[in-house]
């Protein structure tokens, strides 16, 4: 088990958004988290990516308790997060966006007296850009990219941190079907090449059933089912949640 949550709870006042969720993910797995709107999926992923503080419960990564760590500590442990709404450095170029991540990864954040055109740094950056297929757009301003390319860049920035666990919040939201498929293919290939474990939230069931190894279903803040795609497809309770009786 590379990743585990134990009785994770998040309350917003008297609203319980995440209700005692126990999730376990194996190394190298691609896990999808699905559920109808309001099921608590985004809250859950915000909790495990340390954007929110849990009301109670524990989170473990590689057997280390990361429940109380601030966001900037978890990336060095190997957890990367892609946001639902791309958080890019909009006025910087594609190259610079990834470069920022590389600088941080290489521990050069406080290097005030080195040059930026450090050859090593540039090659790291270009490698990442190539792996996400954006090397031709290296000098474009991030803000001028198409939405789909921005999502790629988002993934690229996260990858530059060389995570072992990658979390994606609705990676194909807002892109066309074919672009979404390309994106997920990219993710799956990268997962294989870089031995990543992936957790992703999705609404698009085709994507989910095509790309996930295992699926977890959330409903009203609780984790109600986990299993292989075939199992979930025929799971009566899941049917009930989504389709009613």
């Amino acid at each position: 088990m590379i990743f585990k949550t134990v009785d994770l709870v998040k309350d917003f006042g008297c609203l319980r958004a995440v209700d005692k969720v126990n999730l376990e993910i194996a190394e190298g797995e691609i896990r999808a988290i699905i559920g109808p709107n309001g099921a608590g999926k985004t809250t859950f992923i915000d909790l495990i990516a340390k954007r929110l503080r849990p009301t109670s419960g524990r989170i473990y990564f590689k057997d280390k308790d990361i429940t109380n760590l601030p966001p900037y500590r978890i990336s060095s442990l190997g957890i990367g997060k892609c946001f639902q709404i791309s958080k890019l450095f909009l006025e910087l170029s594609v190259f610079e966006n990834v470069q920022v991540a590389c600088i941080s990864k290489r521990g050069k954040v406080y290097k005030m007296f080195s040059s930026n055109s450090d050859v090593c740094l540039a090659s790291d950056t270009m490698k990442v850009l190539e792996s996400i297929g954006l090397s031709k757009m290296a000098e474009e301003r991030a803000a001028s990219l198409s939405y789909g390319d921005q999502r790629r860049l988002e993934i690229g920035i996260t990858l530059a941190m060389q995570p072992t666990l990658l979390m994606l919040d609705e990676p194909t939201a807002g892109v066309s079907r074919s672009e979404g498929n390309d994106l997920m293919k990219l993710v799956k290939n990268l997962a294989k090449d870089l031995s990543l474990t992936i957790i992703f939230i999705e609404h698009d069931m085709d994507i989910v059933f095509n790309y996930a190894d295992n699926i977890s279903v959330m409903h009203q803040g609780q984790l109600v089912a986990t299993g292989k795609p075939e199992e979930i497809k025929i799971n009566k309770f899941v049917h009930k949640i989504y389709l009613g009786d």
Binding site: S76, G80, K87, F89, V100, I103, M112, A122, S135
Partner: protein, 318 residues
């Protein structure tokens, strides 16, 4: 690190500027040389501000605090503690840095808005503190004393001294902003949250940036004190902070040389206008109002971002 300075366009431009200033300074009539000296000092102040504003996206609304801190730490060490000039400069700058660490630590809180207000609040505190603590600071009249070493007492030699100091300071700042540190700072400006998720402790980073910015403002303050041979509460005035902001906005905050241009314009404007009328601040206000409402960006504005820089020659596998 020298690569940052030796970038062709910048280096040539800088070289020309320094040469021109060196030649022009001594031959101008005294009034203009002194004006130039003051402009250089103000330009350093404005550039220090831009470290936070243009590069890191922070909002230091009360930078006069550090201007004054530099001047007063230095000045008081000379006047009250009778230190010789240059040791006083060094100790004064150190004291200013220590105080700026404390202030920075207290200011860098939850969000940008609170930071700006706190920064302003500290400015107000210091204004009041300096005017009222008569025993230490000389109160509203401050202190007038010789704050230059003997060899700098002529206006020409002082001009060259300031020129050298400012050039060196600019070189350091330029190296800073072109370094990985500077790149992360730009990331701060664009998306702080993302930076947090990329493993950067943004609060700590902001503090380091804050202290760096405060250091250069304090240096400018020291030079100011030397220039005027005195330390006065007016150094801390809110209007000084606002004028600094104005210089950054007018000159263009996304370019290294922007604030310097702004400083040039504002200083020349205020000095010339104040020769005509004692209501020069009102006219400055007019300029501020017109500028902010008409020209959203500065003189040097981004048509496209600075992002279109050359990527170092690496074999790109096509």
């Amino acid at each position: 690190m020298w690569k940052a300075l030796v970038k062709k366009r910048f280096f040539i431009f800088a070289l020309i500027a320094v040469v021109v200033l060196s030649i022009v300074g001594p031959i101008l009539p005294r009034y203009y040389t002194q004006l130039l000296t003051l402009t250089l000092i103000t330009a350093l102040f404005a550039t220090s501000l831009n470290i936070e504003i243009g590069y890191a996206g922070m909002m230091p609304l009360g930078q006069a605090t550090f201007y004054g801190l530099g001047a007063y730490s230095f000045g008081l060490l000379v006047i009250k503690a009778h230190l010789p000039i240059f040791p006083a400069v060094i100790c004064g700058l150190l004291i200013s840095m220590i105080i700026s660490v404390i202030i920075g630590y207290l200011c860098i809180r939850r969000n940008l808005f609170i930071f700006g207000l706190l920064h302003l609040a500290f400015n107000i505190v210091f204004i009041t503190l300096v005017s009222k603590w008569v025993n230490l600071t000389g109160g509203s009249s401050g202190f007038t004393a010789t704050l230059r070493p003997a060899f700098l007492s002529s206006y020409v030699s002082f001009y060259f001294f300031v020129l050298v100091m400012v050039v060196v300071a600019y070189a350091i700042i330029k190296i800073l902003v072109e370094s990985p540190f500077g790149k992360i700072a730009q990331g701060m400006r664009e998306n702080e949250e993302r930076l947090n998720f990329l493993g950067v402790n943004t609060k700590r980073f902001q503090l380091v940036l804050f202290v760096a910015s405060g250091f250069f403002a304090a240096l400018a303050g020291v030079l100011l004190a030397m220039n005027n041979n005195g330390i006065y509460p007016a150094y801390f005035a809110l209007t000084v902070s606002v004028q600094g902001l104005m210089m950054v906005i007018i000159g263009g905050m996304y370019f290294f040389i922007g604030p310097t241009l702004g400083a040039l314009l504002v200083t020349i404007f205020s000095t010339e206008v104040s020769n005509f009328t004692s209501y020069w601040q009102g006219w400055l206000g007019v300029v501020m109002v017109i500028w902010v409402t008409r020209f959203k960006e500065g003189i040097l504005f981004r048509r496209q971002s600075k992002a279109s820089k050359k990527i170092p020659a690496i074999e790109m596998n096509k």
